[in-house]
Structures are given as structure tokens and as C-alpha cells.
């Protein structure tokens, strides 16, 4: 068998293969025009699925990260933010340093401007430190009132001592000078 002729038609022709070629050549493809219907769409389809998916993923990521950032912040941050968002008043603005005389002058001239500053500071303290302080401040007493209070306290002590003595007499307990004396002691050894 001549392989070259079978392979690419070169070399010495093989009569049997030539006979097969002639015989089967009758069935060879007869060119016919291709009828392309008009409704067939040709061309690359622009798929918007992938870009839309990417855009949706980016938007979702942005929303989720914003939510996470919002809920993961400490409560102090909100108060700080609120303080930052507070309207700027002259008390918030740092005043340039001035001499004490000028300070006193400004304080005297503008006494109403001090109130909002104190109020603001109290509010901030209350927000940042919500611990309730139960402080009962003692009323300030004059020296006369203090002397009278001392007299009352001495009288109360006397009355108390007298009542204690009377109670001991009625019960029959021996009178002692000091309540810390140890009774019924025995020598050891």
C-alpha cells in the first residue's frame, strides 16, 4: 500500500485507492448556498449580567460595612459626635489669652455668657458619667448656731448618761466607773 498517496496524494498512485476515489466521488458535497433567515441574530450578545452582579455586590458591601461601622461604634463616640455637631457658641471657641484685668472686665461686662458654659459642662458630665451621686451637703451654720448645737449635744449626752444610770439601778447591776473592766478574774497558776 502506498502510504504517501493515501496520505497526501503524492507519490505513485495506488490503483485501488484511485478506484475508491472515483467511485465515492459521486457522493461528494455539491455546493449549495446557505440560506440565512432574517430573524437570526448575529453578533456578540452584550451580557449585562456580570457587570450588574459586580455593581450589586459593591453596593451591598458598602451598605453592610456602613451598618457594621454604625453599630460597632462605642456609645462615647455618639456623644462626642453630638458634641461636635453642637452649634458653635462663643463659649466653645477658645478665647485668646488676655490679662487678668481684661478677664475680670469681660466677666463683669458679660455675666450672662458664663451660664451657658457651666450648663454645657454639666450636661457633658452627666452624659459621660451617668453615675448618680447622692451627696447631702451640710448646711453652713453660723458660730452662734454651732454653739447652740454643741449645747444641745452636751445636754443630750447628759440625759443619756442619767438614763443609763437609772436603768442600771433598777436592774441591780453594780455601778462601775468604767464599762471595760473585766470581772471575776482569777490568778492563773
Amino acid at each position: 500500500m502506498n502510504d504517501n498517496y493515501l496520505w497526501d496524494g503524492t507519490g505513485e498512485p495506488d490503483p485501488e485507492i484511485q478506484k475508491l476515489e472515483e467511485l465515492l466521488g459521486e457522493l461528494r458535497y455539491q455546493p449549495q448556498p446557505l440560506h440565512i433567515p432574517a430573524d437570526i441574530t448575529v453578533g456578540r450578545k452584550r451580557s449585562f449580567f456580570l457587570p450588574m452582579t459586580i455593581a450589586a455586590a459593591i453596593i451591598m458591601f458598602a451598605i453592610l460595612s456602613a451598618l457594621w461601622f454604625q453599630f460597632s461604634r462605642k456609645p462615647n463616640a455618639t456623644t462626642l459626635q453630638s458634641r461636635q455637631d453642637a452649634p458653635v457658641t462663643p463659649t466653645n471657641v477658645r478665647q485668646p489669652e488676655s490679662s487678668p484685668e481684661q478677664k475680670t472686665a469681660t466677666v463683669k461686662d458679660e455675666p450672662k455668657e458664663q451660664k451657658p458654659r457651666r450648663q454645657l459642662n454639666r450636661n457633658l458630665l452627666a452624659i459621660n458619667k451617668p453615675v448618680k451621686r447622692h451627696e447631702t451637703l451640710a448646711p453652713r451654720l453660723t458660730p452662734e448656731e454651732l454653739a447652740k448645737r454643741e449645747e444641745v449635744l452636751v445636754a443630750l449626752r447628759l440625759v443619756s448618761a442619767k438614763l443609763n444610770l437609772a436603768q442600771r439601778k433598777t436592774v441591780g447591776v453594780p455601778q462601775t466607773t468604767s464599762p471595760n473592766i473585766i470581772r471575776n478574774q482569777h490568778k492563773i497558776g
Binding site: M1, D8, I17, E21, E26, L27, V42, R44, K45
Partner: protein
């Protein structure tokens, strides 16, 4: 001989040295690109180039009366799905695979086939018609019959079959050799030739 001559030419520098030319872009690539960009008429050129190959692939599998219609259907299907072709240079193997799948679908849908028996093949005289020889080829294994039809019916050479179908030249050569030998045995004219 050719290698010896090429080596001698290279050593003696009988030919002026020239840099290897860049591999030209296959025609199919430009045609596919043009069709995808909207030039539908360019698909007719692809049809002209590959219709014989598709015809041969189908002829090796389905009845001859059905082949022409199937060729048209396959090319229209390819035109619709051309945007799914990733490598435009592989248009030939791609459409050959479409043709093979379509032939399988044809047999799935219509089971009424007449099987050619061995006795029918041997009983005939050596003066056979083309259809009878084609029927004998269809009895051969799948790898052989497609290659033989493309070679004997469509008149393609081995390298052409390899480039159009995407098979390796070595595979085509082996298929041609063994398929022809088997066909001769089936036709009763097999001779003990090396």
C-alpha cells in the same frame, strides 16, 4: 533527504538569512471576528470552507438523503451560537463537534435504520456502487469511517483532514491506513500488502 538538504543549506548559507516570519492569523479568525461584529455575509465564506468537512462527517453517520438538510441546520445553529466560540481559530473542530452531536441526535430521534450485515457485504460482486461502499465504510469503527469519508468522498488530503477536524496528523494517518485496510478486507479484495 529533505532534512539533509536543509542542514546543508543552513551550514553553507546558500540562502540569505532571514528571521522567521510571524505566524499569520488564520483566515477563520478574521472571518469569525467579522461575523461577530455584524458582517453576516462573511459567514458564507466560512460555510464554503467547512461545508465539505461537515458533509463528510455527517455522511459517515446518517443517511445520505438527510445530509444536505442537516448541513444547513448545523451552519445556522453555528451562526446563532458563534458568540460562544472562545477560540476563533478552532472553528473547524467546533463545527465538526456540532455535526457529530447532531448526527447522534438524529439517531436518537429516528430509530428506523437498516443494519447492513456481513453477509450482504460479502455476497455482492466486486462491481459495487458508491452507496454500497459507503455502507461498508459506515460499518467500520467510528474513528476510521469519518477519516475515510473525508479522504475518499470529499477528496481531502490527510493534512487537510487534520487541520479541519482538529485531529493530530499522526492520528489521521493511522486512521487512514488501518481504515483502508479494514475496508479492503470487507470488500473482499484485501491483499496481504505491507
Amino acid at each position: 533527504m529533505i532534512e539533509t538538504q536543509a542542514t546543508a543549506d543552513m551550514l553553507l548559507m546558500t540562502h540569505p538569512f532571514s528571521a522567521p516570519a510571524e505566524k499569520a492569523e488564520p483566515v477563520e479568525v478574521a472571518l469569525v471576528r467579522a461575523v461577530l461584529e455584524g458582517e453576516r455575509d462573511r459567514f458564507a465564506r466560512l460555510y464554503e470552507m467547512y461545508a465539505p468537512m461537515v458533509h463528510g462527517v455527517l455522511l459517515a453517520r446518517v443517511p445520505r438523503d438527510e445530509v444536505d438538510d442537516l448541513v444547513q441546520d448545523i451552519f445556522l445553529h453555528a451562526l446563532k451560537k458563534l458568540d460562544t466560540l472562545r477560540d476563533a481559530a478552532a472553528f473547524g473542530p467546533w463545527i465538526a463537534m456540532i455535526a457529530r452531536n447532531r448526527a447522534m441526535d438524529f439517531y436518537r430521534s429516528s430509530r428506523t435504520t437498516v443494519e447492513v450485515t456481513e453477509q450482504m457485504a460479502v455476497a455482492k460482486t466486486p462491481n459495487r456502487t458508491a452507496r454500497e461502499v459507503l455502507d461498508l465504510i459506515k460499518q467500520l469503527p467510528d474513528a476510521y469511517r469519518e477519516t475515510l469519508v473525508l479522504r475518499f468522498v470529499e477528496g481531502m488530503t490527510g493534512p487537510e483532514i487534520a487541520s479541519r477536524t482538529g485531529l493530530t496528523p499522526a492520528s489521521v494517518r493511522v486512521n487512514l491506513h488501518r481504515g483502508t485496510k479494514l475496508l479492503r478486507e470487507r470488500m473482499g479484495v484485501a491483499e496481504a500488502r505491507s
